[in-house]
Symmetry: C2
Subunit: 141 residues, 2 copies
DNA sequence: GGGAATTAGTTACGGAAGCAACCAGAAAAA
DNA sequence: TTTTTCTGGTTGCTTCCGTAACTAATTCCC
């Protein structure tokens, strides 16, 4: 019963790979814009899919509402987004990026694409496809 | 420039997959033994590779020394391991599992193997091999 | 219409992580 | 020897995350 090693344990490997792969990009948005991971994700969703409510971001991004709430406040403090209360339901706030926010999004978006390309350059197209397929299935997307 | 989506961003996917895949097993050792992730990893290393110093665990497991230090204390409180100061260098402590610790290790070890098997049953052998190869490379092991 | 139950979002609190400062012991240098 | 540097390990501080409780607005249902 000693044939199974930690490096054969998929969740462990996934965590290690996730940490390693995130580190580089994380440093980029942290150093450059003082942003946290959740902030980057929220910014991405708004930049990529247009104005959304916090609720919608929660669902799409699968982030807990308290984290989103804090990220939204932080992005607001940085003047990267604006809130606008909806007239028909005053519990809802539409969130939209400011010009400054859009600029940051564009930079990070480009960098993310570049980063991903660079990272995947070690693999063949087939490996890349299988990797993504497996990850998507595991993440149950 | 809108062809790149969050779900195409490998670090994002990796994080999602890592979180999802860890959740099930994490619940197991948390509910059953009140352990944290770092504690489980330290326990695993000691159970799988025999007595080690904290330093060695840091290197092998790639965990920061403060985390290891706290995990070791926690495992000691639970009576899962013992420290023994080395005579030739009194800064070093050899850590070894108690009988209770070994029992917990065996249970978790078996459960991890089972969990992994179950999780991978969705994939073909080839996919499994490629997935692990890619993850190992990304994690730069 | 007027409660009761829901829902969007915030806040408060306790635990966990990272960083830096720290302590003791050992090795290196003077 | 003694003083400086380095190393293994711990602790303090601050930030971050998750759970649960809360507020305000809306809908359900009588």
């Amino acid at each position: 019963m000693t044939d199974f090693d930690l490096k054969d344990f998929t969740p462990y490997l996934l965590n290690l790979a996730a940490e390693t792969s995130s580190a580089g990009f994380q440093a980029y948005y942290k150093d450059r814009y003082g942003m946290l991971r959740t902030e980057w994700r929220v910014l991405f969703h708004l930049g990529r899919y247009g104005p959304l409510t916090a609720k919608e971001i929660c669902e799409r991004a699968r982030i807990h509402k308290t984290k989103v709430s804090r990220a939204v406040s932080a992005l607001e403090d940085k003047r990267y987004l604006l809130r606008r209360e909806q007239a028909e339901d005053r519990r809802l706030e539409t969130l939209r990026l400011t010009e400054a926010g859009k600029k940051v999004f564009k930079d990070l978006y480009k960098e993310a694409a570049r980063f991903d390309l660079e990272m995947m350059s070690d693999f063949t197209a087939e490996e890349h496809a299988i990797l993504h397929k497996c990850l998507t299935k595991i993440a149950a997307l």
